[in-house]
Symmetry: C2
Subunit: 321 residues, 2 copies
Amino acid sequence: MEYTTDYLAGLIETGLKELKYPNEAPHLFDPIRYTLEGGGKRLRPCLLLAAYSALSHSDCTEVLPQALAVEMFHNFTLLHDDVMDRADIRRGRPTVHRRWNDNAAILSGDAMLTRSVQLLAECRPDVLPDILDIFNTTAMEIYEGQQLDMEFERRSDVTVQEYLEMIRLKTSVLLACACAIGARMAGASDEVRHHFYEYGVALGLAFQLRDDWLDTYGDPAVFGKAIGGDILNRKKTWLLITGLQESDGELASILDEDLSDDVLIAQVRGVYDSLSLGERCGALAARYSAKAIESLDKIEMDTRAYEFFRSLALSAASRNH
Amino acid sequence: MEYTTDYLAGLIETGLKELKYPNEAPHLFDPIRYTLEGGGKRLRPCLLLAAYSALSHSDCTEVLPQALAVEMFHNFTLLHDDVMDRADIRRGRPTVHRRWNDNAAILSGDAMLTRSVQLLAECRPDVLPDILDIFNTTAMEIYEGQQLDMEFERRSDVTVQEYLEMIRLKTSVLLACACAIGARMAGASDEVRHHFYEYGVALGLAFQLRDDWLDTYGDPAVFGKAIGGDILNRKKTWLLITGLQESDGELASILDEDLSDDVLIAQVRGVYDSLSLGERCGALAARYSAKAIESLDKIEMDTRAYEFFRSLALSAASRNH
């Protein structure tokens, strides 16, 4: 087993391409193929494959269907979220509801969710109840996270604590779920599964906080998209929520003004900088990255596997794209 | 065990009311409760409970979670279909996307789908792989049916054969799935499961054809909604498709004209009557009802259970609401 994201993501790409779909209504599946061809890091399924290998010392292709299930589920949530958020672009291409329409996005998304459960069930019957339970609990948490995220848009009193809980639900638990399913399928103890789950939660928080940071402080040439989108959308990120709390009304009044995009971004960044929010957001991401490694340290595995998970945690908080 | 729809539907109503949901984002679950409180015949879960009891001679509450799963799934499909079809009213109340908004309907629907899989999984581990397989295969077929239904709206060359296949997918297979899951959980042989499945398919076709008939020929006071909705929406029902094929262009030109609602309904019914489509549609529904009973006759069960399933099949093709 090669513990590199290139190798593992390659398995996922091939697996996704080889998936079969029913054929009574072929157009139902066009948006699914389109979505899955869109790339992405394939982080979640890689975590599942690597966790399984690290604990079972077996070939990770044995859990490929479950890894594909997690990736399918993740892409389903992106597809439906893009409809709800009226997002036009995803990974540099038109979103499904733009390329087709809302109905295609809703119905194909539903089919992806069911297809993900089908893939998950391609396993030994004795592990099925457990992994289905982890998967379904996680799915419900992710919907709750999306619900809170939408509610936050209409609220001006969101606290940092609430925000961290929302991103834990919306983002982290699926990474944790991927780790936990890999561990469960490898026959790990409840304790090891717990530590792997906690690793995934902390990794996800580091990842999301770095994402917030990159959207304001990233290098557009490396980040791959324009900087300041979150500011223009008044998105309630860690930076905005903390800025609103600590700037004594200054940030709130800037956001209320009718400013050009460039001026708005510059003025908001000015407030952020005066409060050192960039550094503090980076430090918080690094703290979650360290927490992920603490959980990792409690699990016995060989050096190559350990290094794989450790470097993922480090890069989550330091990556530039 | 009492083999009456009143008794069985009562179990379902109580079961639905007692369902638990997570509590991190309570508003996510308001539309789910609202939808499930909306009533309906609870036909699918009643079939599951009755099939289980008929074959196992055990108390049907043992399979209540699976019956609730099927009802939850059915209501999820209605919720998402109503968004796609822009329907304003369902069971006499505003649809979820009208009462809340599209996003609430999409996200709550997703949560209902996952909740239905959770309920399904509340069973003995040895039957889980089989019933999950039946359930997921059925779900995919239902999405395919909805996809075809939407595609038919934009097509003028839909054949009766295609229409029957579409309603088999969109409506019948879930009734069949409910019967098959009940049978599987009772430990029935593959053969008995097959006959019960075929019973459900034929029952569903009889039911849907009678629905098409009622929308044009029903008594509004008994049917509970206005007559002619399908005609006004140019919905491709068995009546319309057959009328288009056999009226030598007459029906097509009526549909093209700019007529008042009442005149349009009267003229279309005139064409239907000249071709005896009402009688023929009724006869076709009765044929499927008889086919359901043929499948039923191949399954051994006591008289009370048999009479329950038989009277359902008869009423599917003769009901007035």
